[in-house]
């Protein structure tokens, strides 16, 4: 088929599977770390805001492949021989937490100040105001941009090729080395990436329109 054997095609599909695994790791890790970042960025405490802001600036100021290298070799110098998946997962976590943190900070701040005020006037504590009044509204606003960012996560997992993680891009490279059909192999890889990303884009667009109607 297409001048490739079924096994060769499955090889690419398996790579796509690892791309999905790494994307999931990046998203879950990014969520776990990104939420505290968003909270710290909207905090009343200046010190907390500054620490979170420094973290975001640092991560956003370094190209993702370099983060991959630093995590991978940093861990091995530290005496931890970890699989490429773990290193790539940690790098993706750092990357997506910085961006998700910024996105969610914006969502928290876009809930009108008057909602904080109304909750305050009902004698709710600071935590209660956030948990029961602000957060549910911020979450709703956050859905479209978060789903949209998933597309960035999926595409950017391809940088894990630099530390030899067996994702879709790396599989395509390996397959090309044995078949010498670069255009064909990378076109199929492109199609597979598109098949993953396009539905996510559609979903994000639909959520956004739904939010606008409300």
């Amino acid at each position: 088929m297409l001048g490739l054997t079924i096994d060769q095609l499955l090889f690419l599909v398996r790579g796509a599977g690892w791309t999905l695994v790494l994307s999931l790791l990046g998203f879950v890790g990014g969520t776990i770390l990104g939420l505290p970042v968003a909270l710290a960025r909207s905090s009343k405490l200046r010190a907390l805001r500054m620490v979170a802001s420094a973290y975001v600036q640092l991560i956003q100021g370094i190209p993702l492949p370099v983060i991959m290298f630093v995590v991978y070799f940093g861990l091995s110098i530290g005496g931890f021989e970890v699989p490429a998946l773990v290193a790539a997962g940690l790098a993706m976590t750092a990357y997506s937490s910085a961006y998700l943190g910024e996105i969610w900070k914006g969502c928290i701040q876009s809930v009108p100040k008057t909602q904080w005020e109304a909750a305050e006037c009902l004698a709710l504590t600071g935590t209660q105001r956030f948990v029961h009044v602000i957060l549910p509204q911020a979450l709703k606003i956050a859905v479209p941009p978060t789903v949209g960012f998933l597309v960035q996560i999926v595409k950017n997992t391809s940088y894990s090729v630099v530390i030899g993680f067996f994702d879709l891009t790396y599989s395509a490279k390996v397959l090309n080395n044995s078949t010498y059909k670069p255009f064909l192999v990378f076109s199929i890889a492109a199609a597979l990436y598109f098949v993953i990303c396009y539905p996510l884009s559609l979903l994000a667009g639909r959520f956004e329109r739904k939010l606008k109607r409300v």
């Binding site: 006037c121 009902l122 004698a123 504590t125 209660q128 029961h132 549910p136 509204q137 709703k140």
Partner: protein, 242 residues
């Protein structure tokens, strides 16, 4: 008996702008005090000082027997005693009417689920919206939303209610239903401070009308004050705003 609210030479500035220039005013228990005046006269700021939304810079302000802004004020305790309703309703859009009303009683006063439901039924009946308990704010008219906001405050069983231009955002045909709810509260003996532009309503409901001008209490008195203003400023205000 000591008054519910006592302003003694209260000053308040925002940066270099002094908005309250020495307010002295008592709100006796059970009374309805209406603050009137042009925009920028300081009436909303004075109101917001009463429940600690604004901190005063000078003078003394006592609310429910407590001195405010001496650094030790328990604002959460104060807000359980003082309810406020805003011009823009500020209902929680993600919660039903009933949940809007019961959130604070459940979380702050730790009222049980069943009791909270009964409480909601009671205050929603007070504002005539029993049948809307399961609706969301966006499904209600502005007047209905404002009545829910009043019910939400009443659910905390406040000793004092503040109303900050609560009909200003409403279409004229919807103001009546809100004003009637406030009138009924007044009749039931609730102590209230209102800021309003509805002069006819102010005359009908107020025990005391306070005309504010340039951050000061310019003139005060009963409803008859508006018919026979002593100062040129109130004369002008009455002539242009009625």
């Amino acid at each position: 008996m000591e008054p519910m609210v006592r302003f003694q030479d209260v000053h308040k500035s925002f940066g270099a702008v002094e908005v309250l220039k020495g307010i002295t005013l008592d709100v006796p228990r059970g009374d309805v005090v209406v603050l009137v005046g042009r925009s920028g006269s300081g009436k909303s700021t004075a109101l917001r000082c009463i429940n600690g939304l604004e901190t005063v810079n000078g003078g003394e302000l006592h609310v429910c027997g407590e001195k405010l802004h001496d650094g030790k004020t328990d604002l959460r305790k104060l807000r359980q005693e003082v309810g406020i309703v805003f011009q823009s309703y500020n209902l929680f859009p993600h919660l039903t009417v009933e949940q809007n009303v019961t959130l604070a009683p459940r979380k702050v006063m730790k009222v049980g689920a069943k009791e909270a439901k009964e409480l909601a039924a009671h205050v929603l009946a007070q504002v005539g919206l029993s049948e809307k308990a399961q609706s969301y704010p966006e499904q209600l008219s502005g007047g209905q939303q404002q009545r829910v906001a009043i019910a939400r405050s009443l659910a905390m069983k406040p000793k004092l209610m503040l109303f900050d231009e609560v009909t200003s955002a409403l279409d004229p045909e919807l103001t009546g239903e809100v004003l009637r709810v406030i009138e009924r509260l007044a009749k039931d003996g609730m102590t209230m401070v209102l800021v309003t532009h509805e002069m006819g309503f102010a005359r009908g409901v107020a025990d005391q009308i306070v005309f504010m001008h340039h951050g000061k209490v310019w003139e005060r008195g009963g409803a008859e004050m508006l018919r026979a203003p002593q100062t040129a400023e109130l004369q002008q205000f009455v002539a242009t705003d009625l």
